[in-house]
Assembly symmetry: D3
Homo-oligomer: 293 residues x 6
């Protein structure tokens, strides 16, 4: 009985792998990748862990071969799997690059927009994504599955492509230009519907979601601690970012206050010099592991 | 006009790439891979060179988007492309591993042979190869396309797989056993039918085939040179490998002969000690670049 | 005089080296390893630091050539050195692997237990360890010193071996099976008896022990900080791990409390979701460097 | 208008580069180095960032081609540039090695001191540094610019050299001995005089200086937190480093105090064992990112 | 006396180093580079070997501090050293890239040709090269010495630069365009005039030149051996490259001939298929180490 | 029966390993080292191959646990094993470094020669080598086995050491000086006496010795081919190295001769310029794989 309640979790092999393992580690789970093999060791006896292609994880989560998985919006849409998105695992920009699917053609192509694709051949690794996009735009064209190295194909082997890009440098190097963006994809924690209907599994999944979400936020924030005199307290509190609820404590036996609050890393650069100007003293910035609001 | 006669050549990206470039280099062609991009530079103005997935090269050669390409029997069969096999580029065993497609199941599976696959699910990157194999064996089963990492799938995600293996170590590590071999694939030079009907292109392709074939053989053979006295000449000639036609020349002014012949590297270990026992002197073994019989 | 009071410290070269330097760094000591040479630079003028084989450190500590050293139980026992164990430097499991000495024989050997070793030959790098083990078991056998690569020896070059293993993978690869575990070794801070009798040196050694122990614990714990309302305080305190003494402070002018406590990393995963369910807010997890209880 | 107010910042290429980028990252600025090229991307739209030789940065700051730069005292003196030193970016010793310029000669040279250099040839990458040194010592000698690999030159190609050394190992290996130290150089944030006269630029430069200074200090300090009973509080406060202003808070409902203060990493080693002896409990050491006094 | 006759040889450190050592190795000299240090070990007791900057070698050869050296035309011209060029060490194109000095400016600069440089500032590592070029073109401009990273300078720090380029990619990446090529430099063996006037040294230098030249040619050529029947001999000889003098030997007792000749690697590709068509058999291609015509 | 005739061969692990595998490869044997494990795969069914410490191979060959092995003189002497040296596998100097065992002491030690060692302690990995050396010199001293890192020991942990050195750089770096050389060791093929008494095994060993010896010589020699006119033939033959027996063949229909002979690489440097001066033309140097005289 109890054995049925073990969660089957799919970890994406390839470009999302390093990032996914890092988030799990920050959340407190150690996942070991054996030199050979794809059955991962995780230090939680209630989870069974598989390393699988991100293209195939949504399908397996949909069918219930997995209870839980990590994949991108792109493959969730491509596979048209029925599943529940538990949470979004997006980091601050410097941690992981955005996955952007664009439609591109040769620089000197006459194709200027999706409308010009009528009757043309488009090569892509995400055939359904492109078909849905064409349907939305009411254009009929031929979509061919590509085994990779897609950007080399126009104009000789295809009229257009739909592929992932980060900076556009690779497209440029292949003399291609972007004519539309089809999808900006984010990394998601996805669950099977039946698993989410099981009380015990649902609880476990939500616990995981709390810890993963806390770790994702922990990377983006820091704590600030500082001293301010009673006379300046009000003014200082007014310049703190609105949504913060600082912890304020009077220092025993003095008219000084100790203020503690968490803050986005990106705000720090402007906030610290300001706080100093407003008379705060002993400003200390700490790293944090996780933060659960 | 002349411009039409430029040969479009497809070089396989990935596991066959290094080997293919090595054979071309040995044949006398320098192919440069730019850091970014898939249009290769080749130092022959009559050839235009593309780096493409081996899975897609037979299709493009069949359709005439390429005149010539390198790919394996596996993808030639998988794509069912209509084309001409110009020559086989197989090296001696130590140069490149055999590509073997096998049917495998979990060690403790009840599936013992192809017959037991009836109604089961088989995961593979070569869907047509498997479908043809099932048809030959009159078995009906479901064949699913795999995006890779196929050996992790049985028994949870598939009942059987069809995948490439070299030593079987990876299959063993995933607790799988082989129940049949579907194909042993070799690397081929393939050409488009129309290109082979064009006199000028055909001549160029045949020249390439001579040079590539000579380079493949050159890696496997060496030349042996030795001296033998007139009295022992006949006996020595009798122990030489049958098919060899040695060059025999009398040394000016002496009853000694200078013998020169090419020989497979693998025969050398037994031949040299034997030749020494039969009285040969000054045995010298040379490396060779190419040999065209 | 004062010069005699400099502590001579032995750092183990090889498998324990990286770990040892890491613990010292966490404790606040910077040890530099010059590219060539074994006299280490440490940023404490009262310590002189040598990089030596762990096999030799207990001997040197015993004889007083070193006042202090790091080595494993295995070599402490093997060398039978007379010394004082100051503290155990064991990290959490993910930081350093256990060193396990096992007795192993060929898979098809008739030797099933220590009793069957009578009259046989055992190859090992730890001759005394094995001799003591045999004596305890009242078995007479020949113990041979091995220069390494011990696992290759059975059955041709030895009947049994005693060697270090972590996962057993290497033994398995050599077709060996474990028939007994002789020792599970831990890393120790060891001191010379005379040095421990010298008041000044003893004080310095104890200070080192406090700092090293605090650093070892610091790696395994984190601090948790959170807010809880007056009404829920008692219930929350009840679910905290028993031994924790949390710091509880009322937030100035509100019926909210600020709770701070340290906690093992391994408990965090279960504790955080629980705290959230019990109404805690603004839960923040911090890393810590050292913790001295 | 506003466009003129963008700060032009010079980052030193080479030995100071890694260190400089690390300090900026700690201060909250992300600087990206493209694979090719020297125009750096910084995530602050008010700064424009160039990777330049440290030898040339002072000159450019002096002339106003840069508003701000990082370089060493050595090149500031060598170039004799007129500029303002905004702050010293010296880390604790373990973070970056001291840059030491020494005068060296062959081990068996008759030159024993600067006086013996009269009429001799000195090869160096810092010609002015050496000339000024000679002038101070009232010695006339020939100073030759060296393109690098300076230590190979004596005695065949130069009588003496002036070069950077860390441990002296390279000098020793070339059979050289040091006869004098000319300069010990530190890393500085330097600004152009006119830029410092512009109100808007000055403010931006001072904000940068606060953040960089805070990050430099953050690396060298930690926070200590501990509990002490009311009876021991006074004695404990007396042994804390003089300049510290600890935050002292009574624990709600007990005669215990919670003390928090920042402290140099180097003092920790002596302080923690002392605090324990004086009865402090639950001593915890935290890392900090930045500290602004 | 004899000791004076030892040749002092300068090997260029940096971009030419690997190539130079390879040519010497092919010529039969082993030069060892110690991990630390610049006095190279060469296995010829009559040579003393120094690793020096190529910028400095011509000067030392000119002054007689070296008898012999390897450097490029660029630095020979730049240093204006008086010396003798013994031979050109140019390999086939694939072995070493051409060193090309170009004049470049920002893409949007108004400077279109050398004439527009009047009154401008040019930054370069080769000041004299540029000054001579300007004089030839009767243009007056300021030439500044650059410590490297020259391509970052326009337009802020210089109006134009003169720098080395191979593919132009780096210039492009810095938004520069080439407006003229100043020099295409080749690698030379250079000797001191007095050394060349000494009979014993001159002989040694000429021997070196023969061996280095033979090695350079050996890399570019191969030997071809084949059999041809008496009837076809004349026709075959007619298609061989004109300048070749093949060795023709009758095979004992048959109307077949054995032909041997050396041939440029680049000709092989066309020659082998032709020879086969003309009836040659047993065509074998051998590598060669050196060839001295 | 036949099975008993399989040769057991010991390959030395460590510093001789790469060299040994290279010689076997040149001789025509492919030995594969599995990632884990020490039973090597060799492509000869009559040989069984073990990777063992060179310190232990002579002992095992002596005792017949191996029929054949590779080790150095040092360990042959150290182990005092009774065995047969089949051949010396010494390469030209550039292929493998000499193994030199030296006696060293601290630079400022009063020990100047072996005589001063009386009563002192010597640390070494080769205890017997040192004891024999002391006996030959009639000096009584204590010899201690060292686990490695021997050079760190004087003067604190030993009075002298005996260790391997190549360039002396490591000794120097540890402030040691050499006072005597005890042994210069060479790599040997060694066989068990009983194996050499078995006709079948002896034949196999001799075949191996021919192939290994041929490969060792092949690395050190090259072939030279050249043309000389009838008039100059005699004079040229006189300057050829004495022991060479050149193959001389008249070129069909001309008064020119084709001369072919093998020659040590080291002689080439002097021979080629001389041959050119004596009128030889078309001098070509070829690499060779093996040469069996």
């Amino acid at each position: 009985m109890r054995e049925n309640k073990i969660l089957k979790l799919g970890i994406p092999k390839g470009s999302l792998q390093e990032y996914t393992l890092k988030v799990f580690k920050a959340a407190g789970f150690d996942i070991e990748i054996p030199q050979r093999g794809y059955f991962l060791k995780i230090d939680d006896p209630e989870i069974e862990c598989f390393l699988l292609r991100p293209q195939e994880i949504p399908k397996y989560v949909g069918k219930g071969k997995l209870d839980l998985g990590i994949s991108g919006d792109d493959w969730i849409l491509e596979t048209k799997a029925k599943l529940i998105e538990v949470c979004d695992l997006k980091y601050a920009k410097q941690e992981i690059k955005k996955v952007k699917w664009v439609l591109a053609v040769s620089k000197d192509s006459k194709i200027k927009s999706v409308k010009d694709l009528k009757g043309k051949t488009i090569s892509t690794e995400a055939v359904n994504l492109v078909k849905d996009y064409l349907k939305r735009n009411k254009v009929k064209a031929k979509v061919e599955f590509s085994f990779g190295a897609t950007e080399v194909k126009p104009p000789r082997f295809a009229d257009a492509i739909c592929d992932i890009t980060e900076t556009g440098a690779s497209l440029k190097a292949h003399n291609l230009k972007v004519i539309d963006t089809i999808l900006i994809s984010s990394t998601k924690l996805i669950a099977n519907k039946i698993a989410m209907g099981d009380k015990q599994k649902k609880e476990k999944i939500e616990e995981l979601s709390i810890l993963l979400g806390g770790a994702v936020r922990g990377v983006q924030e820091v704590n600030l601690m500082m001293h301010v005199s009673g006379g300046k307290l009000k003014k200082v509190l007014r310049i703190l970012p609105k949504i913060k609820k600082p912890t304020i404590r009077k220092i025993t036996g003095q008219d000084w206050y100790d203020i503690l609050f968490s803050c986005k890393k990106l705000e720090i650069r402007e906030l610290i010099p300001k706080l100093k100007r407003f008379g705060c003293q002993g400003i200390v910035e700490f790293p944090i592991n996780k933060i659960i609001k």
